[in-house]
């Protein structure tokens, strides 16, 4: 085992402080807006901290580390694309400004304002399915990282996963967004320190020259040129760029930070500054993966190589800081995701099967119950499911299942007067088809006819999804203007 007494002390103090703080903040939750969007009182720095902490989980380190191990420096392109996409959304206010101005708490809520309650139900179902599937592998990857770094090995995976989940559920279920914002701030500080510790340890043991030599020897040109790398290419670049814009504007856990901001102007600034951190968010762990390639050589388990490196090079005492940082990263991500998906299933799915919304107290109660059920599902799913291809593409594809249709619906809903219900249904359903087909068919590629093999290419499935959704919105709306006249939205509400 790599973990010493000092490491245990740091980790336990951190865990106890997190849970105590998260539960203590519960007293500030006075109503539904307090629970879901922290009363819409979050300012710029706190908004950036909570957004970065949400989007940086241990799973992020693992899939980017894996990317560095198998693709070398080429993987850096992902960070640049994400930075461009999120900063552009922040600078322009594309979608997020309009959503925040209307005071919605979840994205499907906008569908009801602009289209109908049934569109909200369909959109909510897709968002919930894509979101929970997306989150399904978090626990497993986080468990792998922590087990390897601490030196427990794969045998402790289930135990580590269960403990992490229980701790997060304790405060998320009770304190909602208030607990998330407050604990995220502390977790942001810890995860930044953890990342710094890991990066310094990496450069102490492995020089840039060694990394360059290892990438050149193992991967050749594909290790430095993303367009020459068979994992990437132009299809990947275009898909990830569009997908990052869509995820930036419409991925409920992230967008909820904009919806919690004290004004639309602050929401834009939060996105812009957070976007600037997104190149580092990807490049820092990708280089850890490249370092693992230089340290161990090829042939290690791709997901476990980088965590194993950390366990080997980070000294006792600092390892506790790194693990506290990893736990911080995981917990902040789980909490935001649990709240996002439980809010969506309660307000946009269950409530939308009725003509009117539930009273506020019932909504909060149902959201808490849903968060508990989702937590149990995640534990079972994470232990059972074998992830296709690399984790990064799995995560983007499950996200695309929802974001492609949502991009069509919300962008057209905000900026195109002729968008109507038929266009919205078409965009949502067509956007979900190719990612769902990929997830179902990828494991049986050999029995598929040749002309269907394109659907098992993750990059093509992802990109096609956005084209189909856009096509569905435009054609669906244009051919049905008479039978389904577009709804004119009520005046904008600033809350």
């Amino acid at each position: 085992m790599n973990f010493g007494i000092l490491d245990w002390c740091v980790t336990i103090v951190y865990l106890v402080a997190s849970v105590w703080l998260g539960i203590w903040v519960k007293k500030y939750v006075e109503n539904l807006a307090g629970y879901m969007v922290a009363g819409r009182r979050v300012k710029l720095s706190l908004g950036i901290a909570t957004f970065v902490a949400t989007e940086l989980g241990t799973v992020t380190f693992v899939y980017f580390g894996e990317m560095g191990y198998v693709a070398g420096f080429s993987g850096f392109i992902i960070g640049i694309l994400a930075m461009v996409a999120y900063s552009t959304v922040g600078r322009s206010g594309f979608i997020i400004e309009g959503l925040r101005r209307r005071g919605v708490m979840t994205i499907p809520e906008f569908y009801e304002h602009r289209f109908s309650r049934k569109v909200r139900l369909v959109g909510g179902l897709l968002l919930f399915a894509g979101g929970v599937l997306n989150m399904g592998i978090f626990l497993k990857f986080d468990g792998i990282f922590l087990s390897e770094v601490m030196g427990f090995g794969p045998g402790a995976l289930a135990l580590v996963m269960t403990v992490m989940l229980l701790v997060v559920m304790a405060y998320t279920i009770l304190g909602g967004m208030f607990s998330i914002v407050v604990t995220d701030y502390m977790q942001f500080v810890f995860l930044s320190i953890g990342m710094l510790v890991a990066t310094i340890a990496m450069f102490v043991h492995i020089s840039p020259e060694q990394m360059s030599t290892a990438v050149a020897a193992t991967l050749g040109t594909a290790g430095v040129d993303p367009l020459a790398n068979p994992r990437f290419g132009w299809t990947f670049v275009v898909w990830i760029l569009i997908s990052s814009v869509a995820a930036g504007a419409l991925w409920q856990p992230g967008t909820s930070k904009a919806l919690s901001s004290e004004s639309p102007a602050v929401a834009k600034k939060v996105f812009f500054w957070t976007g600037l951190t997104f190149s580092g968010r990807a490049m820092i762990p990708i280089l850890w993966g490249v370092a693992a390639l230089a340290y161990f050589g090829p042939g290690q388990g791709t997901a476990a190589a980088m965590p194993r490196l950390m366990g080997a090079i980070v000294p006792t005492g600092f390892l506790g800081l790194l693990v506290a940082g990893l736990l911080a990263a995981s917990m902040s991500t789980y909490s935001a995701y649990l709240l996002a998906w439980s809010s969506v299933v309660t307000r946009d799915v269950i409530a939308c099967t009725r003509p009117k919304d539930f009273p506020e107290a019932t909504t909060v109660l149902l959201t808490r119950i849903a968060a508990g059920i989702i937590g149990v599902f995640l534990l079972l799913f994470g232990l059972w499911y074998a992830i296709p291809d690399t984790a990064f593409q799995y995560l983007y594809l499950t996200g695309t299942m929802y974001t492609s249709g949502a991009l069509g619906c919300v962008a057209a809903g905000l900026y195109w007067r002729r968008a109507n219900n038929v266009g919205a249904y078409s965009a949502l359903i067509l956007g979900a088809i190719t990612p769902a087909a990929f997830l179902l068919l990828e494991k049986s590629r050999d029995v598929l006819p040749g002309w269907l093999h394109f659907i098992t290419d993750v990059n093509i499935a992802g990109l096609l999804s956005f084209f189909l959704a856009a096509l569905g919105m435009v054609i669906g709306s244009l051919v049905s203007q008479r039978i389904s006249p577009p709804r004119i939205m009520s005046a904008e509400v600033q809350q």
Binding site: V52, F73, I80, S212, T277, G280
Partner: protein
């Protein structure tokens, strides 16, 4: 070191400075905002 690797290392340096720079500013300013948020 190859030319491609050197280019990526320069971009990596900029991205890392940006990440930790913003982290320091946010950590310092965030304390005050946290106090504001928790005022009743």
């Amino acid at each position: 070191m190859t030319e491609g690797a050197l280019t990526w290392f320069i971009l990596y340096g900029v991205a890392t400075l940006l990440f930790f720079g913003i982290a320091v500013v946010v950590a310092i300013r965030g304390i005050g905002e946290l106090k504001d948020l928790l005022k009743r």
